[in-house]
Amino acid sequence: MTSLLARLQTAALVLALGLCGSATLARPAPELVLQLATGDNDARIAALGTLAASADPDALPLLEALRDDALKSRGGNQAVIYDGETARDAITGKPLVPVPDDLEDVMTNNRVTVALDAAFAAFDLAAPERATRLAAVRTLQESGDPALLPLLDKALATEKDPQVIDLLRVAQAGARLHHPDRATRLAAIETLGGSGAPGARAQLGSLLEKNGASFVEADAAVREAARKAISHIDTWLEIGEIAGGLFTGVSLASILLLAALGLAITYGLMGVINMAHGELIMIGAYATFLVQNLLRTHAPGLFEFYPLFAIPVAFLVSALVGATMERLVIRHLYGRPLETLLATWGISLVLIQGVRSLFGAQNVMVENPAWLSGGVQVMSNLILPWNRLAIIAFAILVVMGMSLILTRTRLGLFVRAVTQNRQMAGCVGVATPRVDTLAFALGSGVAGLAGCALAQVGNVGPDLGQSYIIDSFMVVVLGGVGQLAGTVYAALGLGVFNKLLEGVAGAVLAKITVLVLIIVFIQKRPQGLFAVKGRFADN
């Protein structure tokens, strides 16, 4: 009966093909299609394997339908492709009007997805674009399925690109690990061991596992070769790990540095205990959010580059808020640290509440543009995320910019003069109130830049600043008040040290330890790492 049905369906299919030659029909065996739509996961994966090994391009629409959730099952005996508007039988291609209401979703879980990805990759091996082939062979590498060997051999025979060939060889080796021929297995182990492929270690490790009483790999010499290959891979993994640890440290340092740089001016140079510093960072982050939204609605073409537009906006907005703060409140409190502390703390609460009323208490979504998502694979276990790399570069640029402004411009000269000796600077004609405002605005603007960068890695919410204010003061105080270089070294030291500790002791303990160590350090050396030397240092 079933076979008769199948034959009828095939006949209908041939008929339909004859009638309208342009119809896009899935031509793979009807029982495979049915198995894909209505079988359990094991049957589905088996069907996908068969389709992949056949590399029949006519199966592609069907696979795409499965991927896009368009493939539905009906009553457990009909495969239907439903694109949201129209439905048609997946085997005959006959439209189903009206759309039946008893279509069931085909449950595609991770296990099926793996098989589906492998099937797609099998098709992509013959793709004309090099990048597609590279991605395909990378996907196939990890499967290690011997059924794919003929496909890989075929691809190797026609492939010209050296990098793709290399990867194909590794994939081939992975699929040959259980090859009946001993020499082939040994060669495969050697290829895998030297490949540095991410999944190689697990694949090799599977040879050493025990299957009941006996090893998966019966030959002791082959096992020994696998063990050697694994220890070779482990050495590289370890190097990658250390490099990764250092990178995370530097990355944290760059974030600490950005957060603290603004404070290094307002607190370090000007001596204003600015509790609202964190909120200036927060405002910078929200400015980034606004620029992102504006570009998304008004200039979608530029959306990819919104961070570049957000940088000046975040700087200006925060600088403006900072200048207003200085003009209205802080300038009346110079020389009264306790009142400054209270006032700026009050301002910080006002700013938080203001933002909360404007944007809501919820975090807002700042998306990473595509060029800041993902990362660059340096080693098999070391991926450097683009957003972190960008922030490190950005921090370096900001530090350079700041030191140029402070040492090479007239404003910088005035700022240094005023902070060293206000009366004397005033005497020689420097407009000290204006310099104060400008310097404070500069520090605030740099905080805004930090906000712009932090929006790329963390959450943007009204409380964003609260989590950075303590770290910022920590860095500035540790580095030595009044020193830009000190801030840089302190951020670097704290970042790397914190991350090293985190790797050993966990995030909670690391945080506590760092705080305790800083307290002890400040007890011993109140002036910080780098003390300002000179006649007015004590003032």
Binding site: N110, R111, G205, L342, W345, R356, A361, G375, P385, G503
Partner: protein
């Protein structure tokens, strides 16, 4: 000068008051029944809890539109405990003692629930707690409308161990550092041991609340996973830390097909701030997903969409989302109203007696039933995979509602504990 300074002081003071200023607005209206809503509207938990406040208000509006409870309108009293655990207790006391609420709906984190528990017990008031939690607690004054471990954590890990879940052999138990993750992981560790997973194959890691730098943790997970055998991550990270965690996960190229992450506190709402494309396939276990298809859920989503539009809720007015704790809040309020009607009173003890065996047609598509004894709901369990649009595709579910086991059988000390609150 002097006046300026006092201006500053006043502004600082008023700002501080504004923080606490969500407190009771119309505390003296007559002939209403007051109900408390105790959810963090600011701080690290606001990402999850704010929407529960709105759900509670929606349910109250709905009940009022049908004539209220016992012929009286419900009057919500909303307070903001600001993700500050001791403040939860203070606010709870304020709700019960000075606002005289008949019942309170609130809390998300277990640490906040533990903080208010003595207050509710001392003043003999009622709390409806809408979030999945670690169990190991059974108070006569609390109704737990979220999942107990056997209604979420255990089935999720069972799924990971199964063939369809990827036959995981090694587990990373990752959580925020407080009572819920620690207890859940203790239960899970015992459960995994009973399934033959060795201690060496379990890695437990904790981060503080609001942690935002997950580089080290992700590196550790990668290393653990590279040491062989299929690895899965069980995440009990709570609050907005989830956003940087998932961002880093995506950036570091950990795909769900290699190392699946199953989360117990991440739903549709938490994924709102995340680009979900790199996260496709990672899992969550809940008793409800927005993507569940049934008439009750369609109705629930429609109501929520209309409510969000009408009240101009940030985010939800453009992209309305529902999630499991919202459903649990919704069930809880309606069940309380039903119980109060049945008891013909809002008196705590009478309502508690009337709650036993209450049923409600839940948006999950099943009838949720309050257990006759143990103050927990009978609920179905769903496991979903993240889709590219931030919704979940259900890949596994229980055939029907599951009875809660607040005292996990995997903790030896629980042997002989009664499945109902101690009588006092």
């Amino acid at each position: 000068m002097q006046s300026r300074r006092s201006f500053i002081k006043v502004s600082a003071l008023s700002a501080a008051m504004a923080l606490a200023g969500f407190a009771s607005s119309a505390a003296f209206a007559a002939d209403t029944i007051k109900v408390g809503v105790l959810h963090s509207l600011s701080g690290t938990m606001a990402i999850s809890e704010t929407v529960l406040k709105d759900t509670a208000l929606m349910a109250i509006e709905e009940i009022n539109a049908k004539g209220g409870v016992l012929g009286k309108k419900l009057e919500p009293v909303v307070v903001d405990p600001a993700s500050n655990w001791p403040l939860f207790a203070e606010k709870a006391r304020q709700l019960i003692s000075s606002d005289k609420v008949a019942v309170t709906f609130g809390c998300w984190t277990s640490v906040s629930r533990k903080s208010v528990l003595p207050v509710f017990e001392e003043l003999n008031s009622l709390l409806f707690y809408p979030v999945q939690y670690e169990g190991e607690e059974l108070s006569k004054n609390v109704f737990y409308t979220g999942a107990a471990p056997n209604q979420q954590a255990i089935p999720a890990v069972e799924y990971l161990l199964s063939k369809d879940g990827g036959s995981a052999k090694r587990f990373v138990l990752l959580g925020t550092d407080y009572v819920y993750p620690r207890t859940t992981n203790k239960i899970l560790r015992a459960f995994l041991k009973s399934k033959g997973v060795a201690d060496a194959d379990i890695l437990e890691e904790y981060t503080p609340f609001g942690h935002s730098d997950y580089q080290t943790i992700i590196a550790k997970i990668k290393k653990f996973a590279s040491e062989g055998k299929k690895t899965a991550v069980v995440s009990t990270i709570n609050g907005d830390s989830n956003v940087p965690f998932y961002k880093e996960l995506g950036n570091q190229g950990i795909k769900a097909t290699d190392v699946p992450v199953v989360a117990f506190s991440v739903g549709e709402e938490e994924l709102r701030g995340v680009d979900t494309k790199p996260l496709v396939g990672h899992l969550a276990a809940w008793n409800y997903f927005m993507s569940v298809k049934n008439p009750t859920n369609t109705e629930f989503i429609k109501k929520w969409t209309a409510y969000a539009k009408k009240h101009n809720l940030a985010g939800h007015k453009d992209k309305p989302l529902t999630n499991d704790p919202m459903e649990a809040t919704y069930i809880g309020i309606h069940m309380w109203a039903q119980a109060a009607e049945k008891a013909k009173s809002t008196d705590t003890d009478k309502v508690i007696a009337a709650m036993a065996g209450q049923t409600f047609k839940a948006p999950s598509g099943f009838v949720a039933k309050m257990d006759e004894k143990n103050h927990h709901l009978h609920k179905p369990v769903f496991i979903g995979e993240v889709r590219a649009d931030g919704q979940f595709r259900v890949v596994w579910k229980t055939p029907g509602p599951v009875k809660a086991q607040p005292w996990s059988p995997y903790i030896p000390e629980n042997k002989g504990k009664k499945d109902e609150p101690e009588k006092k």
